[in-house]
Every structure is written in C-alpha cells, then in structure tokens.
C-alpha cells in the first residue's frame, strides 16, 4: 500500500529561521559576486582519465586536464574508510554478544 507524502505539522520553525538567515546572507554574497568568464575544459579533454591520473599523482601531457596530486589523501581516505567499517561493525554488534 502506498501513501501520499504529507507535510509534517509539528515543525519547530523558530530555529529554522537561522537557516533562512544563513541562506539570505549567502545568497546576497553570491549574487553580488562576479566570478568572471567561465574558462571551461579544453575541447576533447579526457576528464575521467584526468581524475585517475590525479588520484595517483601520474604525470601526463595534454589533453589531460591539470590538477593537483591526490595520492596522499587517497591513502588517508582508505584508512578512514577502514576505520569507519570497523566502527560500524563495532556499533552494530550486540553488547556482550559474540555472534
């Protein structure tokens, strides 16, 4: 059985005003900003391949798009994910249980 989405009725709007204020401030700042013309990627640039090269600090000539090397963050994220996996397992396990 499917139900129609209904708007929630017990929303406490007062703190939400803070979010609205944030949006207002950011919107004003963004709209008054000028980023200049869009440079864009070169025609025929291999974007996906560039991501791969960037991830492993590999050097290639054009048409690869330039980027910074991300090998170290890549490794760091690997550890973070590992830790998250461990943490998730630890949390999900029943306390005191070995199962």
């Amino acid at each position: 059985m499917t139900t129609k989405p209904e708007l929630s009725k017990n929303i406490d709007v007062l703190p939400g005003l803070a979010a609205l204020a944030l949006f207002a401030a950011m919107a004003v700042a963004i709209l008054s900003a000028n980023f200049g013309p869009i440079q864009g990627f070169e025609a025929g640039a291999a974007i996906t391949r560039s991501i791969g090269y960037a991830l492993f600090n590999l050097e290639r000539a054009a048409p690869v798009v330039t980027s910074e090397g991300f090998l170290m963050p890549f490794l760091a994220v690997a550890f973070v994910l590992d830790a998250a996996l461990g943490a998730a397992v630890m949390l999900a396990r029943r306390e005191g249980g070995e199962e």
Partner: protein, 84 residues
Amino acid sequence: MIESLTFALFAVVTIASSLGVVLVEDVWHSALFLGAALLSVAVHFLLLKAAFLAAVQILVYVGGVLILIAFAVMLTRDPGGVGE
C-alpha cells in the same frame, strides 16, 4: 539554451525534493525524496562535464547510501505505530 533550461528544470527538482526531505511527515518518504535529490544532483554533474562523477554519484549514493538509509528506516520503524 537547452543547457539553461535543463539547469533550471533540475534546479527546481533538486530544491523541491530537498525540501521534501526535510518537510514531509514520513521518514520513508523522506528517504525517497533524498533519492530524487541525489539523482538530480547527478544531472547537474553531467551538465558540468563531470560524467564520471555523475556515475559515481548514482552508484555510491543512490545505490549504496540510500539503500543503507532505507534499511535503517525499516529497522527503526516503531513496530506499533506510524513513523516519527
């Protein structure tokens, strides 16, 4: 021109489904709205020439994270009453 139109359309979709995520009563509906929002973000990625990222967005978010959330929603359903 077509790009601007696509952007406008999907911007509306993104905003609308994001609002849906936070405003609807049922968590399950929220999760579905989240899926819609994430998918529309993938479209924005495509517009920005980030095809790979769009694919990853769909695979990881919609295929992974959303499934996890859906599981969590179902696991935390109050057995007796309606959600939230």
